[in-house]
């Protein structure tokens, strides 16, 4: 279980999740060593997996119980996503609909957008989304390109807050919306790209 990545903030920054269809042990160890969560979620994209993933990322709950909590309708996972606003960004309509449907089954309030540009509009601060799942292979503006301005905006806002306590969220002035990359090809380069542009995880989409 990932604890206190990088910095000693009270609010545990969302951890990085690597979700892959086929991940070699080497890659998994590398992910762990780099401070990424140790959760590997097998594809295809299931809401139960996504929820378990988020659970890890947000530091909720205790140890990873691989396979145990990953039941449809599991009360823990249901609780996690229930009423939460999730943004799904994917230009593939069938996949978007299926994934959104699955998240909704867990009680999430899902918004969908087909492009990075459209997503950016929704992710302006103050951000009301609990998490964002973003396809990184979209024309025009892909997931990486969309994440960059978001992180810039967050950094700026965080600097301005100057480490002061935000009464509402109880955070130490850390804006950071969890963004999880969705990709159909989890290749090494993609994984590195995710790290570089400060996405919180990489999910292999269908």
């Amino acid at each position: 279980m990932l604890e206190g990545k990088q910095n000693g903030h009270v609010f545990k920054l969302p951890k990085v999740i690597l979700l892959a269809k086929n991940i070699t042990n080497v890659e998994l160890e590398k992910a762990k060593a780099a401070g990424f969560a140790d959760t590997v979620i097998m594809k295809p994209m299931r809401a139960s997996m996504a929820a378990a993933c988020l659970q890890q990322v947000l530091g909720i709950g205790k140890k990873r119980q691989a396979g145990k909590d990953m039941l449809n309708g599991s009360p823990v996972l249901q609780g996690l996503l229930c009423g939460k606003k999730i943004l799904v960004v994917d230009d593939n309509m069938a996949h978007q609909r299926v994934f959104a449907g699955a998240l909704k089954k867990f009680g999430a309030a899902v918004e969908c957008r087909e492009s990075g540009k459209a997503a950016l509009k929704l992710l302006q601060l103050p951000c009301c989304f609990y998490a964002c799942f973003m396809d990184i292979q979209m024309p025009e503006m892909d997931g990486f390109e969309a994440t960059h301005p978001i992180r810039m905006m967050e950094s700026k806002a965080n600097e301005q807050m100057n480490g002061g306590m935000d009464e509402d969220s109880g955070r130490k002035g850390e804006w950071h919306v969890p963004i999880l990359a969705m990709t159909a090809d989890v290749i090494h380069a993609t994984y590195d790209e995710c790290l570089k542009c400060r996405m919180d995880g990489c999910v292999e989409a269908l």
């Binding site: 295809p44 299931r46 449809n72 230009d91 593939n92 309509m93 069938a94 996949h95 609909r97 299926v98 994934f99 449907g101 699955a102 909704k104 089954k105 292979q137 024309p139 159909a184 989409a205 269908l206």
Partner: protein, 154 residues
């Protein structure tokens, strides 16, 4: 035909689609997402798949018909088709797309043309099967019955 018989027929038919590899477990996920608040979920998603695929197959045909084939474009279309087909569990279409993409990488025009034929074939097959299955479901619902859930024991 009474409802029970129709339901059995549907179950057998659906199971055969899994046995023959037309559908994989992802399709079951779709069925599980259908409920009272989302009674037409499967039909909606399958329709999206049909719409996506028809368009992509057209685009692919045009792209491969060019004097100088843009393999990146071709690959992008196949990538989308692979995404749609896997989302609904159309296994054979998905597998055909995977093969297709590897030939795109090699920029092999003959092989990619063959792949296109293959994908088209698989698509029309599964389209036919799904339409038959959905029709059976409609008949059951119209007769006042409910759609049985499939349990896969293999």
């Amino acid at each position: 035909m009474e409802v029970g018989q129709m339901q059995r027929r549907l179950v057998d038919y659906t199971k055969s689609l899994f046995m023959e590899g037309f559908l994989d477990a992802q399709f079951l996920q779709l069925q599980q997402l259908q409920d009272e608040s989302n009674p037409d979920f499967v039909v909606e998603v399958v329709s999206l798949f049909f719409d996506d695929s028809e368009k992509l197959l057209n685009d692919l045909t045009m792209a491969l018909d060019q004097p100088n084939v843009d393999f990146k474009k071709v690959d992008a279309h196949v990538h989308q088709l692979k995404g749609s087909s896997s989302s609904i569990g159309a296994q054979r279409v998905k597998n055909a797309c995977i093969a297709f993409r590897s030939f795109c990488e090699e920029q092999n025009i003959d092989a990619t043309l063959r792949c296109l034929q293959q994908v088209k074939q698989e698509y029309y097959l599964v389209k036919n099967k799904l339409e038959t299955m959905l029709r059976l479901e409609q008949q059951i619902v119209a007769a006042g019955g409910s759609i049985p859930m499939i349990e896969l024991g293999f």
